[in-house]
């Protein structure tokens, strides 16, 4: 069968199981958009390529399937660099297809030419510049294979215009060996000696903690984690990238560790004598100052990526495996329930003394942002998916919403990309149309990518956006208040400019506003009753509200600052 390269590309995506593409056409990718008209694949036309990338990420994080974006060359390609970098930091499987100028024009500074494979070399798991139409099926199949196996990540395929226009004889690689990837072996066999060494450490530990990271979600190991945790009675912390991997309501869950983690989660790691790291990477936002991190803890480090071992913290036992396989092996080898009563007694006393807290709300506003999040959570169906941007609202959303199952919390962890929330929510809703999807956003973040609400309205993707409008770049404001003598430099945004209600309405969405607790209840109810168009709510929140607990930058976790109302208690 003779096909054009463009037809072969679309057929390759169909063969790879793609049901949705997020994209925006342009000159160099034009040939590919023609056969797309004849395909069953749904294309979602974004308003900016960054939106396409974050939508693909949201789709991937909600479904576990790779997200796909399609953009043109030059500025189309550079506009999607931020989502690629974001996906690389958070190990999200993406396949990004970019148009490129014709092969004969490459290197001549042609119109809309840029070296996107060069630009993305350091922020993709791999990338390809396809040289001929007959190579396209293999490149696409390899891209999906690489993006979704081992430690997942973004893969970029750059397709010159003449490659998509030329003819090829259709073929499809029938096996992985036909992908011609001699340097890529993502599967590993667990070394039983490592498991035995880990079991010996677990059985000897008196203050163990299961330090659960994003790799636990990536390997779909929640059930195995719950089984292992319950049998071993070991307390659990879930990192920002792992919220939902272990139910928040579970009595063994101590919450999120890190810079804005729960006191008990932070201190449990800090006083632990054994950290069992499951697909986590000892990120600086979790460890604080590395030299003072968990000084008495031995480390068992489970990761599919062996380059993570000893990168930040020297490990005692490393297990190269996906988390699910490792948990199955550990569960089979560890003897049942150890007496951890003394450890649990300590942990329970910390929980009693230092619960998550905030100042009591006032009846006439401004609103407490934490109360807004808790109120939305209470009013929303179980299984509601939450996305966020980056900043104070993100931390409050990670703290104050109860995550009970995988894929319900979607955020930008490693890269900290402001503006992630709205497009990620759109992608998540496309992947999980059965679920309610809320974005907890900040006013700063919202202004970065809000134009995608036009996409959401046009494509009938009814997400709900809660803007915690404190009129500031809140997290920067918090640091300036606490660490720069209240010298506020370039953080004020204004609560009224833009008018978020009018802006929402201009984009075809329902726009609502709440300034006090009664209005807050009413608008949340109204938002949850609207299921055909996107809803945007402008919640006027207290600018002076800060995220606590907080470990100051550069400090050890021992220097954790609790909420002012809790200071002076014993520790």
């Amino acid at each position: 069968m003779k096909l054009t390269g463009a037809q072969a590309l679309i057929k390759s995506l169909e063969e790879s199981g793609v049901d949705t593409i997020f994209g925006l056409p342009g000159g160099a990718i034009l040939p590919v958009y023609d056969p797309l008209l004849d395909s069953s694949i749904r294309h979602i036309l974004v308003r900016h390529e960054q939106g396409a990338g974050h939508m693909a990420e949201g789709y991937a994080m909600a479904t576990g399937r790779p997200g796909v974006a399609l953009v043109t060359s030059g500025p189309g390609a550079t506009n999607i660099v931020t989502p690629i970098a974001n996906a690389h930091m958070d190990s999200t499987p993406l396949v990004v297809i970019t148009g490129q100028v014709p092969t004969s024009a490459i290197g001549t500074d042609a119109f809309q030419e840029c070296d996107i494979t060069g630009i993305t070399m350091g922020i993709t798991k791999h990338n390809f510049l396809v040289q001929s139409a007959s190579e396209l099926p293999r490149a696409i199949a390899a891209a999906f294979h690489i993006a979704t196996t081992g430690r997942p990540g973004p893969v970029l395929v750059d397709v010159p215009k003449d490659v998509s226009q030329s003819m090829m004889d259709w073929w499809w690689p029938s096996s992985i060996s036909e992908l011609d990837l001699p340097g890529y072996q993502p599967t590993v066999d667990i070394n039983q000696a490592d498991i035995d060494a880990a079991v010996a450490l677990i059985e000897a530990a008196e203050r163990p903690v299961l330090y659960v990271g994003g790799g636990t979600l990536k390997s779909r190991a929640s059930q195995q984690l719950i089984a292992f945790a319950e049998r071993s009675n070991i307390p659990v912390v879930t990192t920002l990238m792992a919220r939902g991997a272990f139910p928040d309501s579970h009595p063994q869950h101590l919450g999120m560790p890190g810079m804005h983690g729960f006191y008990t989660a932070v201190m449990a790691m800090q006083r632990s004598d054994l950290l069992i790291s499951l697909g986590a990477r000892f990120d600086d936002r979790v460890t604080g100052k590395v030299d003072g991190f968990a000084p008495e803890a031995k480390i068992i480090h489970v990761d599919i990526d062996r380059a993570e071992f000893n990168k930040v913290r020297r490990v005692d036992v490393s297990i190269q495996a996906n988390v699910k396989d490792a948990l199955i092996a550990l569960d089979a080898s560890t003897s049942p329930v150890k007496n951890l009563d003394a450890w649990w007694k300590t942990l329970r006393s910390w929980q009693a003394d230092y619960p998550l807290t905030y100042d009591p709300p006032t009846s006439d506003g401004p609103l407490r942002p934490q109360l807004v999040i808790e109120s939305i959570a209470r009013a929303s169906a179980p299984g509601t998916i939450v996305t966020s941007g980056v900043g104070q609202h993100q931390m409050w959303a990670a703290q104050h919403w109860q995550y009970e199952e995988p894929g319900t919390w979607i955020n930008s962890g490693g890269a900290g990309t402001m503006g992630f929330g709205v497009p990620a929510a759109i992608g998540a809703k496309v992947g999980r149309p059965d679920r309610t999807v809320w974005t907890i956003d900040g006013d700063g973040c919202f202004q970065m990518t809000a134009q995608e609400l036009v996409t959401a309205r046009a494509e009938r993707i009814p997400i709900k956006v809660a803007i915690l409008n404190n009129a500031y770049l809140g997290m920067v404001r918090q640091w300036q208040e606490m660490f720069y003598d209240e010298r506020y430099s370039e953080v004020y945004l204004s609560p009224d400019l833009p008018d978020y209600v009018k802006w929402a309405e201009a984009m075809g969405c329902v726009g609502l506003r709440a300034t006090n607790p009664q209005e807050m209840k009413d608008v949340i109810e109204e938002a949850n009753s609207i299921n055909d168009v996107p809803v945007v709510i402008d919640f006027r929140t207290d600018s002076s509200e800060k995220v606590f607990p907080m470990v100051p930058s550069g400090a050890t976790n021992d220097e954790i600052m609790v909420h002012p109302s809790q200071r002076g208690k014993r520790s």
């Binding site: 350091g122 510049l129 340097g183 062996r306 380059a307 993570e308 000893n310 990168k311």
Partner: protein, 179 residues
Amino acid sequence: MTTPEPYVGPTAAPVVQHHILSVLVENKAGVLARIAGLFARRGFNIYSLAVAPAEGHARFSRITIVVDADSAPLEQIVGQLNKLVNVVAITDLAPKFAIERELLLATIRTEVDEQTNLMEIIAAANAAIVDVDAHAVTVMLAATPEACDALERTLEGFAEVELHRTGRVALPRLGKVTS
């Protein structure tokens, strides 16, 4: 009476902790940029680099990288390199378990009265004369990096020297295990 300091010999130049990585890669466009980019963004130092087609294959090239193992743990360097999809295999050769060789070419312009001295140096170094004219001579030395270092230092005494080195290549020493 003060205790004399123990004799430690002449002060040696500080020794950089080198390791040799013999990296088999797919012979594809941009592979060298991928490796160089990885080293640059992770802050690993490359001491020398040699690239050539691998034995008997059009598909593969061998890159011999001498890394400064003080700049990052070797385990990190190897672990990160291994993640490059085009990297097929990495052999880590500790210097004492490896045969290392390097090629040195040097053109020395001399006055007539220096020529005897130069000839003696060339002979002592076991270097070969590969080009010559009335005012200059080009010599070649294929030897251990240390021997190349020694010749380079000796030639520093001449006023006009143009000297190029290839960077080393290496293979495991026979009959020994590599670390």
